[in-house]
Subunit: 203 residues, 2 copies
Amino acid sequence: MTTDAPDTETKIKEAAKRVFLSNGYDGTKTRQIAEEAGVNIALVNYYFRSKEQLFKAIYMETFASFFGTMIQLLNEATPLEVKVWKIVDKYTDFLMDNPLMPQFVLAEFGKNSTSLFKELDVKSILKSARLSQQLRDEAEAGNIRAIEPLQFVILLMGNIAFPFVAHPVISYIGDLDDAGFRAFVETRKTMVPEMIMGYLRQR
Amino acid sequence: MTTDAPDTETKIKEAAKRVFLSNGYDGTKTRQIAEEAGVNIALVNYYFRSKEQLFKAIYMETFASFFGTMIQLLNEATPLEVKVWKIVDKYTDFLMDNPLMPQFVLAEFGKNSTSLFKELDVKSILKSARLSQQLRDEAEAGNIRAIEPLQFVILLMGNIAFPFVAHPVISYIGDLDDAGFRAFVETRKTMVPEMIMGYLRQR
DNA sequence: TGTTTTTTTAATCATTCGTTTAAATCAATT
DNA sequence: AATTGATTTAAACGAATGATTAAAAAAACA
């Protein structure tokens, strides 16, 4: 039996991920990461060269996961309506498991976007996606109205991700506990696909 | 002719608003506010007692403006469909003038929500709103399907505000300049109301 | 004008920050 | 067991941070 006790580097990275996602780059202190990892402060800079590099590593991973999961779902070979229903269902579940991801990814992208993210090839989202072709085909067949792929993707992502971005506000306004919020999001699993497909079908 | 040169307190507050909205609480340094205001650092603590109190003042204002504008629109005495179209149009324009507001309000609410925001009575949004009654009436008349006011408001706010929360990412992915992003948002002015009303009318 | 109050300034405080150092400990190899 | 290299530790570094001080300048008032 192999012990699955993580090594120091992994412990630091996982702790950093938790802390960065909760508090953002500026709100995160190196000492907090070390403490969360149960590790000496110097080890953070021993394994990763600096706070910034550690953040960069984690942000790239998180960013890739956030958009990669969506791209994967978008590229599946399913009829459009099935796809929309499936994406809303699966991506909602994905964000339920990673509720801090949307706020983290979107907020941090706005700050450092210049130098940090040239390395991310997310622009290929729309170009390589099977989706663009699918939307064009369905429109030409008269099944849906014409829509820009970018508009479609943002419409979809926004309607799925926004409740998580606004989670604290929603729970506060609606007096929701964890179960209440989960129910709130669950309701949207039928609401959002119905709404989007209804819109697309109208010509 | 009276000079409209703002006094020191105003200069600090306006500078702080710009800096806080751009960089968030953690990303904002007192010296940066002073510099932006063209004022000695000590004056920030002379007029406001601390960075935290200054932030609090600005956050409350911004929060109130963000939700207050929406509440006002929601409470107007217009037929539902007209109201939805008008809200999307006017609230989009409002956010065009305050593009950093959504990210700022939503992100900072998540952090300090405990002690800072007991004083904000946003819970009354739904209770006092004419909207709740309107939604119930329209549903009973068979004009729309039944929908929770909270779901309706978040659906509306999310679809209007999300592009601004995701502004940098959208512009990056879609290769949009300022004009391109403005056009992107402008397109949603017709898309979103059509979509939401289409959904509501279906039973 | 002389006095008092308000506002502004330069300087500095104590703390916290990210990072580094040099020594100590551990693990692997011979 | 001795040697080597990798890992961990306690301590400290310089810089930046939020905040304060005491004196100077300006404004208000008598």
